[in-house]
Amino acid sequence: MTTESPMAVTETSQELALRFYEQMRKIRSFEERADELYKLRLMAGLTHLYIGEEAIAVGVCESLGRDDYITSTHRGHGHCLAKGADVERMFCELLGKEAGYCRGKGGSMHIADHENNNLGANAIVGGSAGIATGAAFSAKARGSGQVAVCFFGEGALGQGLVYEVMNLASLWTLPVVYVCENNLYNEYTHYSETTAGDIATRAAAFGIPSEEVDGQDVRAVHAAATRAVERARRGDGPSFLLCRTYRFMGHHVGDVDRTYYRSKEEEQEWRQRDPLELARRWLLEDGLADEATLDEIDRRADELVAAGSQAAIDSPYPSPDEVGKHVYA
């Protein structure tokens, strides 16, 4: 079942439509810059870029309030930005600087943004499924009306924990939305080699309604996410959102030669479904924006990212004695 309900589309106000584009564009610029920082050896370690999947983080997070919780993954920059994080503080974290969201202690794979209730990226595949479900439990117990969203890649469907907590969420009607980003690959292995049966039925097996959506179309994602979030807020329990998508770049910044696991043709085909290009097209076609407006958004995003990354480069590392702090609260 697909979710392109025209309803949802027509409901998308011009403001929101432009915001979709702006947020996606910000993520795209951020990730392109992160890739550069790696190539320039200004960023240590390996980072996982979200390029190509922007519509999911943005479509989902635009259906959330600031108080709502998200948990993220090793490929988490997009989720973090979409949930409202500041570009400069994120770059500071990627570079291990004191001013980073985690004082440089977390890095790319552990960015958390407590101000926007982003409970953190996670370097354990599926590792945040319990946290998201627990945040939903907490929201229900406190009667706060908050919703929790758990982002994960289709590879996380290999982790038993995901099924254990879906069972709990269903039993206890918890306000959580499981968002599966199926970008077709677990690292260098196609998901069809790691995932038996029909993914969509997995949540259903725990009594959780499941919806499949085109992850390249931000409107479709937003419409489906909005339904799931409203359902959760109403107290009707968890939902599962399966988003079809593709990562345009390597598994991580070091994964440059990919021909042994996927073809250039496949990559080209998906490039045709660039969420930014698609958005640009309908924004123009539906007369919600003109070229100039969109170019201006692009420019602002690039500017923001350039300034933020430069500020991060110039900002100081934590002092060595920070190493012993925050082991215990």
Binding site: Y69, C102, K105, G106, A112, I131, F137, S138, Y328
Partner: protein, 341 residues
């Protein structure tokens, strides 16, 4: 260990009540559930059943099924759920029936709960209490008799508590629930019926403060959890031989009260460490190393470790009884250490 004979239990006096360790734990939970609405319990058969060990009898009746929650048999799931709740304003007590099942929750505990405060640069915290058991001789065989407390003790970010008496159990559990960090709380399943004096009214016991359970001059027995009773019985036997043994209970492995352990070691010059974890690569190794580091020049003999035998715990009673330290074995080791044998 086998439940200690009642003789060790001092008789009741002013402002104290004699209750079992199970009752002490029950009181601690009830008091914290009463004072803090964010506290809840989740685990298998914790509600009407009151746990497999009947430790929580009466709690669901008072606090309801929203706060004393029966879960599926999903240790990783409930630990992860507890962590998420802890990170968002609650103070969960996750009940893991047997310590042997820590094997299932180490990712949520060690990779997630232990690290979130540090990884977030101090901005997130996880006030999670995980209650579980340890100890053999219940004839429960290899998968229900382990004492795995050294695993979490090795992970920075976790605190590890091993109470021995009802009074300690109550005061330390209340501290655990109020602590802003993930705490793993171990109770020896053979001690639930063990009785002891517990102060009336509200009290807590700080972490990182060892307790001298018996004073002595000739030898120090550092003992954890139920091994404290083995040490106390051994001390009695040693007294019969004219040897004065001091019994020190660290009470918490993390934080560890090095000072008190070292002070006793410096005083007596001879130390035996008793811990029911397997002896190799166990908690007794850290304690022995710490004592050697802090009291080396006062030691008259190498620190002696006595842990569970390095074998899976066998079912057959005649075999299982061979695997754990006993008062007689401690006596023999002590006499050897003192050059009396």
């Amino acid at each position: 260990m086998s439940t200690p004979s009642v003789k060790e239990v001092p008789t009741s006096h002013e402002g104290m009540r004699e209750i079992s360790l199970a009752q002490a734990v029950n009181e601690a939970l009830a008091e914290e559930l009463r004072r803090d609405p964010t506290v809840f319990i989740v685990g298998e058969d914790v509600a009407e059943a009151g746990t497999a060990f009947k430790v929580m009898t009466g709690l669901v009746e008072e606090f309801g099924r929203e706060r004393v929650i029966d879960s599926p048999i999903s240790e990783p799931g409930i630990t992860g759920l507890g962590l998420g709740a802890a990170m968002t304003g609650m103070r969960p007590v996750v009940d893991i029936m047997f310590g042997d099942f820590l094997t299932l929750v180490m990712d949520q505990l060690a990779n997630q709960a232990a690290k979130i405060h540090y990884m977030s640069g101090g901005r997130l915290k996880a006030p999670l209490t995980l209650r579980t058991t340890l100890g053999a001789t219940r004839r429960s065989a290899a998968q229900h008799s382990q004492s795995l407390h050294v695993w979490p003790a090795h992970i920075p970010g976790l605190k590890v508590v091993l109470p021995s008496t009802p009074a300690d159990a109550k005061g330390l559990l209340k501290t655990a629930i109020r602590d802003d960090n993930p705490v793993v709380f171990f109770e020896d399943k053979m001690m639930f019926a063990t009785k002891g004096l517990v102060p009336d009214g509200e009290y807590t016991i700080p972490f990182g403060v060892a307790d001298v359970k018996r004073e002595g001059e000739d030898l120090t027995l550092i003992a954890t959890s139920s091994m404290v009773y083995v040490a106390l019985e051994a001390a009695e036997l040693l007294a019969g031989e004219g040897i004065s043994a001091e019994v020190v209970d660290p009470r918490t492995l993390v934080p560890l009260d090095r000072a008190t352990l070292a002070a006793s070691a410096r005083k007596t010059g001879r130390v035996i460490v008793l811990d029911e974890g397997h002896q190799s690569y166990g908690a007794s190794a850290e304690i022995a190393a710490v004592v050697a580091e802090d009291a080396f020049f006062h030691l008259d003999a190498p620190v002696r470790r006595m842990g569970a035998m390095d074998v899976p715990i066998p079912f057959s009673p005649v075999l299982e009884d061979e695997t754990v330290p006993t008062p007689d074995r401690v006596l023999a080791a002590a006499l050897e250490l003192l050059g009396k044998r």
